[in-house]
C-alpha cells in the first residue's frame, strides 16, 4: 500500500518526488505512471531502469495522478525490443510504433522524442512551431531553431537567469487568442552543452546521459521549479529571435525583416500548412506583434545579458494589424 505522499493543500496534488521509488517502479511496469505535463496528461510505461531514473530526476516536481481511471491525452511506452546482443528499445503510443528501434541506452531520450512526436502529430488545435519559448514580464520570446544553432544551451541559460521556460522544443500557439501555451519539459542538451549547462549554476539538475546516439551524447536539464509552478500560465509573444552560435563571434542582435521572418517561421512550423487559412493568419498576427531579430553569439553570459536588455515592443492594439 503506498503512502499518500504530501498532497498540496489546495488541489490535493501529489508530485512524482512524493512517490516512493518502489511505487514509481511498480507503476511504470504495471498500469503506467499518469504524469501531468501541462497542458497534457500522459500515461507512461517502461521496464527500463534508465527511464525510471530519468523520470525520477527530471520530472520530480511534475504532478502525478492515482489509479488507472484518469483521462490521459497520450499513452506511451518505451518497451524492450531485444534483450541480448545489442539490446534495443522501441517507442510505442497506444500500440502504434512510429519509429524504428534504438539502442536500449537511449530509452529515456526515446521517450522524450516520442512525446514530441505525439504532440506534433495529434495536437492541431494549436499551431505548433519547432522552437524554444521563454517569458519575462508577461511577454514571450520565441527561438526557432534548426539543429546546431545552440538554441538549447541558450534556452537553458535563459531559464536559469530570470526567464520562465515555456518549452525548449515546441511553441504551442493558440490561433484564436495569439497566446502561447506552456509545455514545460526537460531541456534536451547535446555533447559539450551538457557540461556547459551543468556549470551554469549549482541548482542545475541533469538527468541520465545517453551515449553514442545519432546526435552524440544526449542529456536533459530539469525544468526550474518556478517555471513549472507557472506551467498553466500562457504568454503573449513579443520577440521572435533566430539564434546562431558561432565560435569566437561578437554578441550581436540585428533587426530582421518581418516578411523573411514569416517565411522562416512557417518553415519551422509542423502544422501551419495543414491548418490552411487559420494557420496562416495565426502566424501573421504573431509576426505583427513581435520584434524580429537575428542573434549571433559565442559567449553565453553575454547572450543572457543581451536578452535582459531586449526592448519591450508596444502592447498589441497600438498600431498592430487588425485580425481578418
Amino acid at each position: 500500500m503506498t503512502s499518500p505522499g504530501n498532497p498540496d493543500q489546495h488541489t490535493g496534488a501529489v508530485t512524482l518526488s512524493d512517490l516512493p521509488r518502489k511505487e514509481l517502479s511498480r507503476r511504470l511496469k504495471g498500469e503506467g505512471l499518469c504524469l501531468e505535463i501541462p497542458p497534457f496528461v500522459t500515461r507512461i510505461r517502461s521496464p527500463f531502469a534508465i527511464v525510471e531514473e530519468g523520470l525520477s530526476t527530471l520530472y520530480a516536481h511534475h504532478r502525478v495522478f492515482e489509479g488507472a481511471r484518469h483521462f490521459a491525452d497520450f499513452h506511451v511506452e518505451v518497451d524492450i525490443r531485444r534483450r541480448f546482443f545489442n539490446p534495443l528499445c522501441v517507442f510505442k503510443t497506444d500500440g502504434l510504433e512510429p519509429f524504428t528501434p534504438l539502442a536500449a541506452g537511449e530509452a529515456f531520450a526515446f521517450l522524450e522524442w516520442g512525446m514530441n512526436w505525439c504532440i506534433s502529430s495529434y495536437c492541431h488545435t494549436w499551431v505548433t512551431v519547432h522552437s524554444a519559448v521563454l517569458e519575462r514580464d508577461g511577454r514571450a520570446v520565441i527561438l526557432p531553431a534548426p539543429p546546431g544553432s545552440g538554441k538549447s544551451t541558450l534556452c537553458a541559460a535563459l531559464a536559469l537567469n530570470g526567464w520562465r521556460l515555456l518549452s525548449d522544443e515546441m511553441a504551442l500557439l493558440e490561433p484564436e487568442t495569439g497566446l502561447l501555451t506552456p509545455s514545460p519539459r526537460p531541456v534536451s542538451l547535446k555533447n559539450e552543452s551538457i557540461n556547459i549547462v551543468r556549470n551554469l549554476s549549482p541548482q542545475v539538475v541533469i538527468g541520465p546521459v545517453a551515449h553514442d546516439t545519432m546526435k552524440g551524447d544526449v542529456a536533459h536539464m530539469r525544468v526550474p521549479a518556478q517555471s513549472l509552478e507557472r506551467g498553466h500560465e500562457p504568454a503573449l509573444p513579443a520577440w521572435l529571435i533566430f539564434p546562431k552560435y558561432q565560435a569566437g563571434a561578437a554578441t550581436q542582435l540585428l533587426e530582421r525583416g518581418k516578411a523573411l521572418s514569416f517565411m522562416q517561421l512557417a518553415d519551422n512550423s509542423f502544422n501551419q500548412g495543414g491548418q490552411g487559412r487559420r494557420g496562416f493568419d495565426a502566424l501573421t498576427r504573431l509576426i505583427d506583434r513581435c520584434d524580429c531579430y537575428d542573434f549571433t553569439y559565442s559567449r553565453i553570459d553575454e547572450a543572457v545579458a543581451a536578452f535582459a536588455r531586449l526592448p519591450m515592443p508596444p502592447e498589441p492594439g497600438a498600431g498592430a494589424m487588425q485580425a481578418v
Binding site: A72, D73, L96, P98
Partner: protein, 398 residues
C-alpha cells in the same frame, strides 16, 4: 463468447448526447479506440451536428477537434487534386469517375464527414487504360510499382494500374478498370457501372475558363457506390481499416435509403452485378455492429436472392471471423481469437482475388522475398529527426 465491446464508439456516433455523461475513464478509452479506428473526426462531425461539441470536456474535445482539422485539410487538398486530375484526363477524353473517399467528398455525402483519405481512386474503361496512363504521365504522375513482378501483379491480375504518384505534389492516384480483380470469381460488369455514373454538375461545368475543355467529374450511382464499398470490404484481406469501411457502408445506407425505392433497387443491382453475397455481409455486420437501421423486410428479400445467403456453417464461420476483424484495430477491441481471425481473412482475401495456382505463387513469393525498406523511410522513421515520421507507415501492434 462475448466479444469486446465497441459500445462507447457506437453510442457516441449514433447518439452524441450520450457523450455528455461519460466519465474520465470512458473518455480515455473512447479517444484511444476512436483514434485506432480513425473515426475521431467523424465523432467530431456528429457532435457538431448534434450541437454537443462545445459542451464536451476540454481534453477529449481537443483531440476530436484536432482530428477534424486534419480531415478538413485533406478534403481541401482533395478538391485541388481532383481539379488537377480533371485537367490531365482531358487528353484521354474519358470522364473522371471517382470512387470511394474522393467520391464521397466531391458529392458532399454524409459518408464524407470526418473521413480521412490518402489517395484518389478512379474508374476508367479497360480499353482506355493506355491513354489514361499516358495522360497522367504527361502531367507528372509516375508509376510506383518497383519490380516487374509488381507491375504484372497490378496490371495482369488485379484490376488497377500500379498506383501512381505525382512527382512534385506527392499525391497518389489509383486507376481501376473494374471494382473487383480480373482474377476474382465474381465478375461485376464495369461497363454497366460506367454507364450509370452520375455527373457532379457544379464541378464539371464550372465557371472559370480554366475548366473549359476538361472532362466531366462523375461518381457511381448510389446503389453501385454502396455495392462497390461492400465488394471492397468483403473481398479485401487486410482489414486494419475494416471498421472504417463499415462506417462508410452505414453512412451510405442511411443516406440513400431515405429514398423509398432504394432498397429494392440495391438488391436487384446486387444480383445483377454478382455482388449479392458482399451486400448480405455488409448489411448484416452493419446492423449487428453499428445498429444500422436495415428493415427486416430488406434482409428477407435479400436472403432469397441467388448467391446471397451463405450456408449455416459458413455464416457461423464468417460471423466468428468478421465480428472480430471488423472491430477497430486496438488491444481493447480484440480478444484471443482476433489475430487468428485477421489472418484467416487475409488468406480469404487472397483466395477471392486469384485462382489457387496464382495464389500459391504469390504467397510463396511473399514468404521468401522480403522487400528492401525504402531509403527515405529510414530517415523519416528516425526519431532523432525531431519526429517527422510518416504516420502512414507506422506499424501498429495489438
Amino acid at each position: 463468447m462475448t466479444l469486446p465491446s465497441i459500445k462507447l464508439l457506437v453510442d457516441g456516433l449514433n447518439r452524441p448526447q450520450t457523450l455528455l455523461a461519460l466519465d474520465d475513464a470512458q473518455w480515455d478509452l473512447l479517444i484511444r479506440q476512436g483514434r485506432a479506428a480513425d473515426v475521431l473526426a467523424r465523432l467530431a462531425a456528429h457532435c457538431e451536428a448534434a450541437d454537443v461539441l462545445g459542451q464536451l470536456p476540454q481534453r477529449p474535445r481537443r483531440h476530436l477537434v484536432s482530428a477534424a482539422i486534419l480531415t478538413d485539410r485533406q478534403h481541401r487538398e482533395l478538391r485541388l487534386e481532383v481539379r488537377h486530375i480533371q485537367e490531365a484526363l482531358a487528353r484521354a477524353k474519358v470522364p473522371l469517375v471517382l470512387l470511394k473517399g474522393a467520391a464521397y467528398v466531391m458529392a458532399g455525402l454524409e459518408a464524407s464527414k470526418g473521413r480521412m483519405m490518402t489517395d484518389v481512386d478512379i474508374l476508367v474503361p479497360r480499353s482506355a487504360l493506355p491513354e489514361v496512363e499516358s495522360a497522367l504521365m504527361m502531367r507528372g504522375w509516375v508509376t510506383a510499382a518497383k519490380t516487374p513482378y509488381d507491375q504484372r501483379y497490378y496490371r495482369t491480375w488485379m484490376h488497377e494500374l500500379p498506383p501512381m504518384q505525382h512527382f512534385h505534389r506527392g499525391t497518389s492516384i489509383d486507376v481501376h478498370h473494374a471494382i473487383v480483380p480480373l482474377t476474382a470469381r465474381a465478375r461485376p460488369n464495369s461497363d454497366q457501372l460506367l454507364a450509370a455514373a452520375i455527373t457532379l454538375p457544379s464541378i464539371s461545368t464550372g465557371a472559370s475558363r480554366a475548366l473549359a475543355g476538361t472532362v466531366a467529374v462523375q461518381c457511381l450511382a448510389p446503389a453501385d457506390m454502396l455495392l462497390h464499398s461492400a465488394a471492397h470490404l468483403f473481398h479485401e484481406g487486410e482489414l486494419e481499416q475494416g471498421f472504417r469501411g463499415l462506417i462508410d457502408l452505414d453512412a451510405l445506407w442511411r443516406e440513400f435509403s431515405r429514398d423509398a425505392g432504394f432498397a429494392d433497387q440495391l438488391v436487384a443491382r446486387a444480383v445483377d452485378m454478382d455482388l449479392a453475397r458482399p451486400l448480405f455481409y455488409s448489411l448484416r455486420y452493419c446492423h449487428l455492429m453499428l445498429e444500422t437501421p436495415v428493415p427486416a423486410a430488406v434482409f428477407a428479400r435479400l436472403a432469397v436472392q441467388p448467391g446471397a445467403s451463405p450456408s449455416t456453417w459458413q455464416l457461423a464461420l464468417m460471423d466468428f471471423l468478421f465480428l472480430r476483424a471488423l472491430r477497430p484495430f486496438h488491444a481493447t477491441t480484440s480478444d484471443a481469437w482476433t489475430s487468428l481471425a485477421r489472418f484467416a481473412l487475409y488468406l480469404r482475401g487472397h483466395w477471392l482475388r486469384m485462382p489457387p495456382w496464382l495464389l500459391a505463387i504469390h504467397l510463396t513469393r511473399k514468404l521468401f522475398v522480403r522487400n528492401k525498406p525504402d531509403e527515405s523511410e529510414s530517415d523519416t522513421n528516425n526519431p532523432q529527426n525531431n519526429g517527422t515520421a510518416n504516420i502512414r507507415t507506422a506499424k501498429r501492434e495489438v
